[in-house]
């Protein structure tokens, strides 16, 4: 099954984005923690897009597609903006938590979370679009998925 959502790039829409993911995944019998982690991963990518690519401009939009496969969930998140944010570079930089603590940074944790939650995280720039592709294997969570 494929689910699609288009949101305006404003921080106040993050809650609506989370609700969308929560509703889509709500019938998969995931544990509450695992469901929340997947919602969080999508939220983090959308937060990066909204604040850094789209500069929190509600006239801009992002698109989320969730594909339910038998053994995995795929999340594709697309924006068409660059701002000063290069998502490909952002994903290549891999600070450790220790770096972040020592440098007393507030940022940098979001993509760490996404990498820890998802089994695959990719971002590409195709046809003037930034395309994030996240995949979560369901077979890795025998305790959480009974579908």
């Amino acid at each position: 099954m494929i689910h699609y959502y288009k949101a305006n790039c404003h921080s106040e829409n993050l809650k609506l984005i989370r609700e969308f993911v929560k509703i889509v995944l709500g019938n998969l019998h995931l544990t509450e923690n695992n469901l929340n982690q997947l919602v969080l991963a999508v939220d983090e990518v959308c937060t990066n897009i909204i604040f850094h690519s789209a500069n929190n401009n509600p006239n801009k939009t992002l698109e989320i597609t969730i594909v339910e496969n038998a053994d995995s969930l795929e999340f594709e998140i697309i924006d068409r903006y660059s701002g000063q944010f290069n998502p490909i570079q952002a994903l290549q930089v891999r600070p450790t938590l220790q770096n972040i603590i020592e440098e007393r940074r507030k940022g940098g944790i979001g993509l760490l979370l996404v990498r820890n939650i998802m089994d695959e995280v990719e971002v590409s720039h195709e046809n003037c679009q930034n395309i994030w592709r996240l995949r979560k294997m369901l077979k890795n969570e025998p305790y959480s998925h009974s579908a």
Binding site: L14, N36, R104, K106
Partner: protein, 109 residues
């Protein structure tokens, strides 16, 4: 997100409710800043009513771990539900921050 700041003897309690995400975490950041600037040594975060936390919320705490050490600030988070605590556990932050079950434990840390 809603915030309430309560003085309870030697403790400064910041009660946080709702979703702590990129759009709201700035207010929590400011509340902790105010407490630090006022020289408060015992800052307790009452997370009983936190429904959701994103990296922006975690960043508010993580960015100050060194500052808490430098200034001998006793910083404790209490009352997190399992779902929110699990977000701290993803990166091992539950080992780097003092997170306890309730107010009584927070006062005895």
């Amino acid at each position: 997100m809603q915030l309430r700041e309560i003085e309870d003897g030697k403790y400064w309690i910041i009660e946080v409710a709702g979703d702590v995400d990129a759009s709201s975490s700035i207010h929590l950041d400011k509340a902790i800043d105010n407490a630090l600037n006022a020289g408060i040594q015992n800052i307790l975060i009452d997370g009983t009513k936190i429904q959701y936390i994103a990296s922006a919320g975690l960043g508010v705490f993580v960015s100050r771990i060194e500052e808490f050490k430098d200034n001998d600030v006793n910083f404790v988070i209490f009352g997190l539900n399992d779902r929110v605590k699990n977000v701290f556990q993803i990166l091992g932050l539950d080992k780097l921050l003092r997170i306890v079950a309730d107010f009584q434990q927070a006062k005895s840390v």
